[in-house]
């Protein structure tokens, strides 16, 4: 503004005119200088120039993030997202309860509905969550090390992706060999014996072949929670226990080969965590042997064919998925009388999909296709006293229900062979989606028909409308339906143990059980209907606001652990029987207000963002579980030269649990606000390799806080204790 002082006093409009002229001239000069600078760059350097619009701020209002989000590699690096779990913390309408489940470890809620199995996760369009809909741990195995971008669509997407795309679809797009064009190594170390190591490499070859591979290993001893929360860990287990061990680990590998329009690949994800997660120490051992582990392999091939005029495209997709609970997985808890209780189960699915995309006209496009899935599953087993041998038939391995291997007073062995439920089923689907665009309107109409050999026919429609009445404003509305078929775990999973009954002389007279979770093959699929609408307004090139609301109804909602009173199993009395049941009707509704901005402060470029989400609803008369009514996610990406810095704050209001305390009251976790910080210093050296460093701190202020409990209060913590401050740093090398 200094130039105004040079103007001699005159009438106001003269000063303003001159100022405007000077401003215009300065702008032209600046632009001209920038153009000359760019012209001096080589093409390679020009490709490396940072672009303003790549900030994650959309170029058009209709691209604004509300029900769809795209996170670029630049954002992933600047914010230090090593895994999908890190990233989802910042996505509005997602909420994660950490360290609260023995099997799932962390549990995600989307738009008020909890359940990892409602979320479909893909790498390059290939699913990596169990096709059977079985539970999975949402942990560190979903690596972002080789990711180019992450696309997140919130809401039911069954019309395109199949019946279990209930709460949303996440697609992690990875780099092809040519995108990598070299290697990247990353090694990090942090508090609590945490190591985080990854390697990516890729190359393109003559003839258009490209190969890339990424491996990522994460391991942590995890914090010593008894020292942090002595009250929760005051009771001792009734059996001698080794040193506290709640370590976790994961391994990710993705290799892909592109030969022109053909791609083949292999994805592998191993995950391991304590099988006592979220449970009081007097009921489950925090022992190095007590681990829950899963192994997931996917082999896939994809091919695209373009017509001569590029008006239509044919995509062929075939994949084989193998999801397996590692036979070494085991619980050592009160349900197994603190004996080793091994688990096993698998799902093997062959999947084939053929899809045609046709540009009918400039304003109309059609996607249509068919899909086929063939599933072969062994449902989650009962507790096993020795590891299952996958190379032998179940019947030949002599498994008996825990506690039943006794002889009664008449010399009769009472041992009850364990039931193993092998399931075979298929799903045939057909789908079509029509996109129409006209002036400021665009409409999407889609529907999918599925025939499931176990659950019959289903149709799931989806409709979306985008209206851009003005250049700066977009209004959207969507309606979608989805169906979640019960997984083999839910229909046939069972666990519990027997104890002998005795007469006054201590002789065994029979068996009884204090608790059994029993199969429920009569479960019906959940049906979800969701409406959402919102608006985005671009106040300036660097300031956006969006508002989005949703209303969701679920009928036949499945709840995994509903006590149904006393009963019998295998002819013996059971004091407390629990089953998964279609509990009834759930309704969630809420809204998110979000602002994104782009600014400069001196030599710092700043990208602040903030989102407030209101979420409420109920499940058959109870308050909504695992979803805070009020939550705030906010952060600022700050960059200056080679330094990027990302502090963020996550506030969660009181969050209720579906689990009840022994008095029948709903458990909850108190409100809390966490501050995390990530900093990266890039290009410490650039030759002979590019070296960068990073430092991440979670729970910066070392806050004691808890997340909503998943395990009922008689066994689980009233609310799951969370980690103290964690610090991790490392180096990245590119060459």
């Amino acid at each position: 503004m200094g130039y105004i002082l040079l103007v001699k006093p005159a009438r106001a409009f003269h000063r303003l005119d001159l100022a405007a002229l000077l401003l215009a001239a300065l702008a032209r000069t600046a632009a001209g200088e920038e153009i000359q600078r760019l012209k001096r760059l080589s093409l390679e350097e020009l490709l490396d120039v940072p672009i303003t619009a790549a900030s994650g701020l959309p170029e058009r209002p209709s691209d604004a993030p509300w029900s769809a989000h795209v996170v670029t590699e630049e954002t992933i690096r600047a914010r230090g997202y090593a895994t999908l779990l890190d990233l989802l913390e910042d996505v509005p309408q997602f909420e994660i309860q950490h360290k609260d489940s023995e099997t799932r470890r962390n549990i995600v809620s989307v738009r008020g509905l909890f359940g990892n199995e409602r979320l479909l996760i893909l790498y390059d369009g290939v699913r990596v969550t169990p096709p059977s809909g079985d539970f999975y741990a949402l942990s560190t195995q979903f690596s972002l090390r080789g990711a180019k971008r992450v696309e997140i669509v919130v809401g039911p997407m069954s019309a395109l992706y199949g019946p279990d795309a209930v709460s949303g679809v996440i697609n992690i797009v990875t780099k092809k060999g040519g995108d990598l064009g070299g290697a990247r190594l990353s090694g990090g170390y942090g508090s609590y014996g945490t190591s985080d190591v990854s390697a990516s490499a890729g190359a393109s070859f003559l003839g258009g072949a490209e190969f890339s591979a990424t491996a990522h290993r994460f391991a942590s001893d995890e914090p010593f929670l008894p020292g942090r929360y002595p009250g929760d860990f005051s009771a001792a287990p009734p059996v001698p226990a080794g040193p506290y061990d709640a370590g976790s680990g994961s391994l990710f590998f993705h290799g892909r080969l592109n030969l022109g329009l053909l791609e083949t690949g292999w994805l592998r994800m191993d995950e391991s965590h304590s099988s006592a997660t979220g449970v009081k120490p007097e009921f489950s051992l925090y022992d190095e042997d007590a681990r829950f582990q899963t192994v997931y392999d996917t082999f896939y091939a994809k091919h695209s064919f373009f017509s001569d005029d590029y008006r239509w495209k044919l995509d062929t997709h075939a994949a084989f998925h193998s999801y397996e609970i590692d036979p070494k997985s085991r619980f050592i808890n009160s349900f197994s009388n603190f004996q080793d209780a091994y688990k096993y189960g698998y799902d093997r699915t062959f999947e084939f999909r053929e899809q045609v995309t046709h540009q009918l006209a400039a304003e109309a496009s059609l996607i249509a296709g068919v899909s086929y899935e063939d599933h072969s599953s062994l449902a989650y087993s009962a507790d096993l006293d020795h590891p299952f041998d996958p190379g032998r038939s179940a019947d030949s391995q002599g498994f008996l229900y825990t506690g039943s291997d006794v002889v009664d007073l008449n010399g009769n062995p009472l041992g009850i062979p364990v039931d193993f439920h092998y399931l075979q089923y298929r799903n045939l689907g057909a789908f079509a989606q029509l996109g129409l665009k006209r002036d400021s309107w665009s409409v999407m109409l889609g529907a999918r028909y599925d025939h499931h050999t176990g659950y019959g026919d289903a149709v799931n429609p989806r409709i979306g409308v985008v209206f851009e009445p003005r250049e700066k404003l977009a209004v959207k509305a969507n309606y979608g339906e989805a169906l979640l078929t019960p997984s083999p775990f839910r229909t046939h999973g069972h666990f519990g143990s027997f104890t002998p009954t005795t007469n006054g002389l201590g002789q065994v007279t029979g068996l009884q059980s204090f608790f059994f979770h029993l199969p429920n093959p009569g479960l019906r699929p959940e049906k979800l209907r969701e409406w959402d609408a919102g608006a985005a307004y671009r106040f300036t090139e660097g300031f956006w606001a969006t508002l989005n609301g949703y209303y969701t109804e679920v009928t036949r909602l499945i709840q995994d652990d509903v006590a149904t009173g006393p009963g019998t199993f295998k002819g013996w009395p059971v004091a407390a029987v629990e089953r998964a049941v279609n509990r009834g009707f759930a309704r969630t509704y809420g809204a998110t207000a979000r602002v994104d901005a782009l600014a400069r402060a001196g030599r710092w470029s700043l990208k602040p963002n903030a989102a407030y989400t209101y979420s409420t609803g109920g499940v058959s008369g109870d308050v909504l579980a695992y979803s805070a009514r009020h939550s705030v996610q906010t952060g600022v990406e700050a960059g200056r030269g080679k330094l990027t810095f990302y502090p963020r704050l996550i506030y969660r209001g009181r969050t209720y649990s579906a689990a009840r305390d022994p008095q029948g009251g709903l458990q909850s976790a108190a409100p809390h606000a966490l501050v995390n910080v990530f900093a990266r210093y890039s290009d410490i050296i650039t030759r002979p390799l590019r070296l960068s460093s990073y430092l991440g701190v979670t729970n910066l202020f070392n806050l004691r806080h808890r997340n909503a409990a998943f395990t009922p209060g008689s066994v689980g913590f009233p609310a799951a204790p969370q980690d103290p401050i964690r610090v991790a740093g490392g180096l990245e090398a590119e060459f």
Binding site: R28, A31, E34, I35, Q36, L38, K39, L41, L43, E44, L46, L47, D48, V49, P50, I51, T52, A53, A54, S55, T72, E73, E74, K148, R149, G178, D179, G208, G260, L261, F306, D308, D309, Y310, R311, K313, Q359, A361, A362, E363, K437, R600, R603, S605, G639, R640, G641, K642, L643, F645, V677, A679, Y681, L695, V697, L700, F701, N702, I725, V727
Partner: protein
């Protein structure tokens, strides 16, 4: 104490001078200028030995003055560069490079049919442009400008693109068999 110390350490890290982010239009303008150096047009597409290489912009102009600044005073193979702007398809005159603005998105099939085999390198930043038959599609990925080249479209236009440009393209859409 530990958190405060960490914040101080992070803030104390040295920061080098920053190149400010650049507007996408400026980078695209410089790419358009560079394309003239890496594409060969057939001799018959020039009326005279010193005829200019014409870069056209069809529809609402996203460049403003920056495209003029990018080519001002430049010559390529002894030919001057010239910018022409066309409001709509009816106004269109022969060009060597035509940048089709997003405002013309719904007319793309008609525009491409009109330009078929005319020796025009068509360029746009609309998603799916190369798949629909355009020659070069700009896109922004991870905060950097990228472009896709359709060999099919380049061949149909009768142009030759240097291997250096092809190597820098994020995707090269192959010729049809």
């Amino acid at each position: 104490m530990a958190p405060r110390f960490l914040v101080m350490v992070i803030l104390a890290l040295p920061a080098a001078a920053a190149a400010p982010p650049t507007a996408a239009a400026e980078v695209k303008a410089v790419f358009l200028y560079n394309f003239t150096k890496f594409v060969d047009w057939p001799p018959e597409s020039f009326p005279a030995p010193r005829s200019p290489i014409v870069i056209g912009v069809l529809g609402s102009d996203p460049f403003g003055a920056v495209l003029d600044q990018a080519v001002a005073g430049e010559t390529v193979n002894g030919r001057p560069l010239e910018i022409r702007r066309f409001a709509n398809l009816a106004d269109l005159e022969p060009c060597h490079i035509l940048f089709i603005s997003a405002s013309q998105e719904k007319h793309v099939p008609v525009i491409l049919r009109r330009l078929d085999r005319t020796g025009t390198l068509t360029v746009a930043d609309m998603a799916g442009f190369a798949a629909r038959g355009g020659a070069i599609e700009f896109r922004i990925e991870d905060g950097r400008m990228r472009f896709e080249i359709s060999r099919e479209a380049v061949d149909r236009a009768g142009l030759r693109v240097s291997s250096r440009l092809l190597n820098l393209a994020s995707t090269v859409r192959p010729r049809s068999p």
